[in-house]
Symmetry: C2
Subunit: 227 residues, 2 copies
């Protein structure tokens, strides 16, 4: 961590929309590309063009967190990338545990993008005796019964749930009871967590259903994002 990254960005006074946070992730990726292409600065216009957004949107999103640009010049590529990393909290290492070593869990354990962004997966849990003790990409699979103590011992901050829908709520409850405040859920079920715990659910069937709706309706109606 550089001294740069530990400098705090101004605390936003207003509610930040989910869309804005999502776009910050998008800007971060595009800035990495611009950096690799040798650009030292980038304008909101160029950034917007590359992501099919409006320049005003880019500037407004960034303005919630501070003034990072120079009038007449644009934004310094590397510095802005670093600032966004700081805003998103990805300029530090997060300790992540994975629960469920089935099909999706195994795929996630092998997913290299996580590590690249500072998400360190160092614990995997399962309830299948045949899997417990075995090695997956250098990580030993632990008994799910040891989840509470292991979460504390390894200072886990984020739990990825990839167990069948029928077990997911039970796992979520254990995580919440152990003090976990962030859960990424792949089970196709609406988990209930307290309001101070942030939950993101990736439901692949629902993504397919969106595509299906569009295929059925694209001749009749406008669809968002399809100017």
């Amino acid at each position: 961590m550089t001294s740069e990254s530990s400098k705090k960005h101004p605390t936003p006074t207003r509610r930040i929309s989910e869309s804005t946070i999502h776009r910050l992730s998008v800007y971060y990726r595009q800035l990495a590309i611009l950096e690799s292409e040798g650009y030292h600065t980038v304008s909101s216009k160029e950034l917007a063009k590359r992501e099919k957004l409006t320049p005003a949107q880019v500037r407004k999103d960034l303005s919630f967190f501070g003034s990072f640009g120079t009038r007449g010049l644009g934004y310094p590529t590397t510095e802005l990338k670093q600032k966004i990393a700081n805003i998103l909290g990805i300029d530090k290492l997060w300790h992540v545990a994975l629960v469920g070593a089935g099909n999706i869990g195994s795929a996630l354990a092998s997913y290299k993008e996580f590590a690249k962004q500072g998400f360190e997966l160092n614990s995997i849990f399962d309830n299948d005796q045949r899997k417990i003790g075995s090695n997956h990409k250098g990580i030993t699979i632990s008994d799910i019964g040891t989840l509470p103590e292991a979460l504390k011992k390894h200072h886990i901050e984020i739990v990825v749930i990839a167990v069948p829908a029928s077990n997911a709520q039970k796992i979520a409850d254990i995580c919440v009871a152990t003090g976990i405040k962030a859960i990424l859920n792949f089970a196709p079920i609406n988990l209930k967590v307290p309001s101070d715990v942030v939950l993101r659910t990736v439901n692949m069937s629902m993504e397919m259903e969106y595509l299906s709706f569009y295929l059925c309706n694209r001749h009749n109606i406008d669809v968002p994002g399809k100017g």
Copy 2:
């Protein structure tokens, strides 16, 4: 398909938001649960309570597509579920192809929820000679070079892309050229497709980044959905 399901719902006259479509998927799942619990009717109040939404939101979402309820009574559970299936287009069989039989691709091929919702995965493609010809859950993995003709031959309507980011755009271009109008992308890259093709991208790193942002900021600011 019943005669019920082929009856057309009224064409919406106004743009339907992504959020509304997403919530229709949510209602659909909750209606299946209510049905299994023996409820013949359900009020917008009850449906809202179970999904942490407002009753007005539920009624408004449904009203874009027609009048499905009875004043004083609520909505007929089974019938409404069927109507939503019809709106979403999941009361028919969709032909789906998967490109990429790596970690994520393999997990998706084994994902049972797809088949349950009428998404029939009947073709898998890869460029790895060791995988081509082998069997995955009863589906032979084909050479990616045969993609264009195979998409036509099997009447594929939806393509799931699960190849590395570096190859994803190339695959998307092939799909678009072959006439595919719906793509579900798992590669961590912003694919470019024409405006008449619907694209959904699932980027797991971005989901993690959202959690990270929340963990960093929950003490300072409001976060959407966390009243």
